[in-house]
């Protein structure tokens, strides 16, 4: 375990670094939007808005003011804690994000479970069969799926498993005929499980499987590739030879000496994959009619709605930072030689 006196300064350093990156991200998106499009009032108010509506939008978001005044009001809306009001829907941005984000989290978490299982297993098998037909087959498979765009995977899955062999629904998060369930975490299948609502839970699982499996199949190559090369690094190393020479049973050598060492490197890429998936689900959400944060962000981007875009970018950036942090902590748990704060793990 990590001694607390090492952990706290490390945590402090990481939190400070994260705040720096978040402020940098916020200012950068603000300036890019401001420089490229200083008066988006007509975009936010809609194509057929009257002059008075546009004037109201301009007044509410201080769009007629110089950039530093706009930036001031903008930062002020963050101190209230709800990121201000969405100029297109008139609702609080925080409440909209609270609705969309758990949906994406559900999709990403289910697909992460599949990615870790598929990636670790196939990487291990390929590495242990290095140079054989099994190895080639696994590598060609994961490189080929990794090379496929999401829309190919998504449309093929819908075509085959919703149309030719109708096994799964082609879109949505749950059956529309079910009674709505109470909102606790916002993650539908988790809420259904907590409330012991079997029907809603099964419907949730039934709807999430196909989009999550497409995401997992197209992205598990990232994990499998690193897993395979870490297995190759570990299996011919001197400590494995030493363990075998000692007469350690083969199963124990593989489990404790090869697999455990390979997992140390793989854990970083799992964190990277998680951060990447959070913002990488736009196309899948679009195809499977999944009301997630990626879809929400996409709508904000095409209407140049930066009051909404900025909190979304901050959320994704925060996701990447948190995932890297968790990976670093795991890193030191798996490998006692690596102390936190020495720059041993993946840096934010």
């Amino acid at each position: 375990m990590i001694p607390l006196r090492d952990f706290l300064p490390y945590l402090g350093k990481r939190v400070l670094g994260a705040i720096g990156v978040l402020i940098g991200a916020m200012l950068l998106v603000f300036f890019i939007s401001y420089i490229l499009n200083p008066n988006p009032a007509h975009l936010w108010a809609g194509a057929r808005a009257s002059k008075s509506t546009i004037a109201a939008v301009v007044a509410r978001y201080h769009l007629d003011q110089p950039w530093y005044v706009q930036l001031y009001y903008f930062l002020q809306s963050y101190t209230t804690g709800n990121f201000g009001i969405d100029p297109q829907t008139g609702r609080s941005i925080l409440s909209e994000m609270e609705f969309y984000f758990p949906n994406t989290l559900e999709l990403v978490l289910v697909s992460m479970v599949m990615i870790v299982a598929l990636g670790v297993a196939s990487g291990y098998i390929a590495g242990m069969h290095f140079g054989t037909k099994v190895d080639h087959a696994i590598r060609i498979f994961y490189l080929a799926t990794w090379s496929s765009p999401y829309y190919l995977g998504g449309f093929l899955a819908i075509l085959v498993f919703s149309s030719y062999v109708p096994l799964f629904p082609s879109g949505g998060m749950f059956s529309q005929t079910l009674a709505p369930i109470n909102h606790i975490t916002g993650i539908y299948i988790l809420d259904a499980l907590v409330q012991l609502n079997g029907q809603a839970f099964m419907s949730g699982i039934y709807h999430v499987i196909m989009p999550a499996a497409v995401l997992a199949l197209l992205d598990f190559g990232l994990v499998a590739r690193i897993m395979r090369s870490s297995i190759l690094n570990a299996r011919w190393s001197t400590h494995v030879k030493a363990a075998r020479a000692k007469g350690t049973p083969e199963g124990e050598v593989r489990r404790n000496h090869i697999l455990r060492n390979a997992l140390i490197d793989t854990n970083t890429i799992i964190a990277v994959t998680f951060g990447f998936l959070l913002s990488g689900t736009i196309v899948i959400e679009e195809i499977f009619a999944w009301p997630g944060i990626g879809y929400f962000t996409y709508q904000a981007i095409v209407s140049i709605n930066y009051p909404v875009l900025i909190p979304c970018v901050l959320l994704f950036t925060l996701g990447v930072i948190v995932a890297n942090f968790v990976a670093d902590v795991f890193y030191s748990l798996l490998d006692p030689r690596i102390a936190l704060g020495e720059g041993g793990g993946a840096e934010g």
């Binding site: 990156v21 940098g24 991200a25 950068l28 998106v29 890019i32 939007s33 490229l36 499009n37 242990m128 069969h129 290095f130 140079g131 054989t132 080639h136 590598r139 060609i140 490189l143 080929a144 990794w146 090379s147 496929s148 765009p149 999401y150 829309y151 190919l152 449309f155 093929l156 819908i158 075509l159 149309s163 590739r225 190759l232 690094n233 011919w236 030879k241 075998r244 990447f276 959070l278 913002s279 990488g280 736009i282 196309v283 679009e286 962000t297 996409y298 981007i301 095409v302 140049i304 875009l309 979304c312 970018v313 994704f316 950036t317 990447v320 930072i321 840096e347 934010g348």
Partner: protein
């Protein structure tokens, strides 16, 4: 290992992955160049002229990819998209590598505050979600091919700076660089003669793989109709324009998407294969790889 062209050929042909990648990537490059040079003369049919008599034909010998709902030959339409779908990713990666070489070498040689500023900036850009930033910049700039290339480069350069900086730092610690410095060689001379030739192979291998990733991002921008002008032929956009035909004429959606996957696979298989062949740690095990794994195990012990 032999050097020069023969060494490179052996390197590529010794690996199944890089062989497949080389062939696929070359085919697409050749067709792209032919399409650009002949300005469309290689197309089997006119890619823009509607022909309603032949609308929505399934793939056949005369139309290998079928025809779309205006009766235009899909194969011809896919070929007209290649200059954009192969060209823009290559331009993006080339510019990113150039930025990486300049900034990475500066950071590694001068260290101090310059290094600190450049690396913090790189960290900041790397923490951003690539896809979202590219979309946001492309959307605010407005649809045009120059803008979409620009927005791709903005999010694409950071890994190259890190890669070059790391490589140059490793070389700067070598004796031959210290000696060169002691002999009063100029900064540019050391960079040109020692630093760049030593980092370039790593960058080239990474960049080859990366062309595939860049195309995935580009065609996703096209699929989401962000940044790419509606008049420009792009495979992702071609797919998104006919999604309503998925159940009626699936080939109109699946075939262009498969072409994207093939181009990406060509470059990434080539890059991945070369990277593995160059891996010094694996080299003792590669040349006995036709034997089963058990035999290798005993041999190395």
């Amino acid at each position: 290992m032999s050097t020069g062209a023969a060494g490179l050929r052996k390197l590529i042909t010794s690996n199944v992955l890089s062989m497949f990648g080389l062939i696929t990537a070359s085919v697409f490059l050749v067709v792209t160049v032919a399409q650009v040079v002949s300005s469309g003369a290689i197309l089997p049919y006119n890619a823009y002229q509607p022909n309603f008599v032949q609308a929505n034909l399934s793939p056949s010998l005369s139309h290998p990819f079928g025809t779309d709902l205006l009766g235009r030959d899909m194969l011809s339409r896919v070929i007209t998209a290649l200059p954009i779908d192969v060209g823009i990713p290559i331009i993006t990666v080339a510019f990113s590598a150039a930025i990486g070489i300049v900034l990475g070498t500066l950071a590694a040689f001068f260290r101090g505050w310059l290094d600190e500023v450049l690396m913090r900036l790189t960290d900041l850009f790397m923490a951003f979600p690539t896809m979202i930033m590219a979309m946001a910049i492309a959307a605010t700039l407005g649809p045009s091919l120059v803008n979409v290339t620009f927005s791709m480069i903005i999010v694409w350069w950071p890994p190259y700076v890190r890669l070059v900086r790391g490589g140059v730092l490793a070389i700067a610690a070598e004796d031959f660089v210290s000696i060169s410095k002691a002999l009063n060689s100029s900064f540019l001379y050391i960079v040109r003669k020692d630093a760049i030739p030593n980092v370039l192979p790593t960058i080239l291998v990474y960049a080859t793989f990366d062309v595939g990733s860049a195309l995935l991002t580009l065609s996703t921008l096209g699929f989401l109709n962000v940044g790419i002008p509606p008049s420009a032929p792009e495979l992702g956009m071609m797919v998104s324009n006919v999604t309503y035909n998925l159940f009626l004429y699936p080939y109109q959606i699946i075939l262009p998407a498969v072409v994207v996957a093939l181009i990406v696979a060509g470059f990434s298989f080539l890059g991945e294969g070369i990277r593995e062949s160059l891996d010094v740690k694996l080299r003792p095990h590669i040349f006995v790889r036709s034997k089963p794994a058990k035999a290798i195990e005993t041999k190395t012990q």
